[in-house]
């Protein structure tokens, strides 16, 4: 396991960690939002956990695919990326369906965290500016 982890590109690790941390922070804000709106119960927490882990995991899997793809020729790399994207989209679809179908998950709390990586990328330039 440790050996496999050491093979991962440091860039992928760094970016995945950034996305996971921002997803965690935004998940806390989502919980706070549900609490303030007085709609909080355990299903929101479970849904948020499922959605957050899926969002961060999806980004990590994409990173691993990119790492593998850039070591190949152009055509196989493009094919690998297309296949990976389809599989990851199906994974997210399955998670969203689970979130809405099972009563132990709040469907909205599952779907909203899927957009957190996009928000993390959106706020990145501002964070970089602050660091500089």
């Amino acid at each position: 396991m440790r050996e496999w982890f050491s093979k991962i590109d440091p860039t992928v690790k760094k970016e995945s960690l950034y996305i996971a941390s921002i997803t965690g922070i935004l998940s806390l804000l989502l919980q706070a939002g549900f609490l303030i709106a007085r709609h909080w119960d355990y299903t929101v927490l479970l849904g948020n956990l499922l959605g957050g882990v899926t969002a961060a995991g999806n980004f990590f899997l994409m990173g691993i695919t990119v790492q593998k793809a850039v070591a190949r020729e152009q055509k196989p790399a493009a094919d690998l990326m297309k296949f990976s994207q389809t599989m990851r989209l199906l994974m997210q679809l399955a998670v969203a369906v689970l979130g809405f179908a099972l009563p132990c998950f709040n469907g909205y709390a599952v779907i909203i965290p899927l957009f957190f990586p996009r928000i993390a990328i959106m706020i990145r330039p501002f964070l970089d500016k602050k660091r500089q």
Partner: protein
């Protein structure tokens, strides 16, 4: 009444299917981006880290369009039918 409800459910399912067509686009876009990145890294191997980092962010942004389609499809399957049938029943009740 059953026919109207059937039409609503059928249209929701059809709409969800049509929405998922948008899931094809990000895959093609990401594939093209990765192919271009391979070429760039082939020309300048020392820029691999920067290219990978930019690529990751670009791919994540591209994937969001697929996610929008997914959310629309999910809402059309799980939320819209109940809402529309309720509206229909209320209208008929009145």
């Amino acid at each position: 009444m059953e026919l109207a409800i059937g039409i609503i459910l059928g249209c929701c399912a059809l709409g969800a299917g049509c929405a998922m067509i948008a899931g094809i686009g990000p895959g093609i876009g990401e594939g093209n981006a990765v192919a271009a990145a391979c070429e760039a890294i082939g020309r300048q191997p020392e820029s691999k880290g920067d290219v990978t980092s930019t690529m990751l962010m670009g791919c994540a942004v591209a994937e969001t369009t697929g996610l929008y389609a997914l959310v629309i499809a999910i809402l059309l399957i799980f939320v819209a039918p109940r809402m529309l049938v309720n509206i229909l029943l209320e209208a008929v009740g009145k």
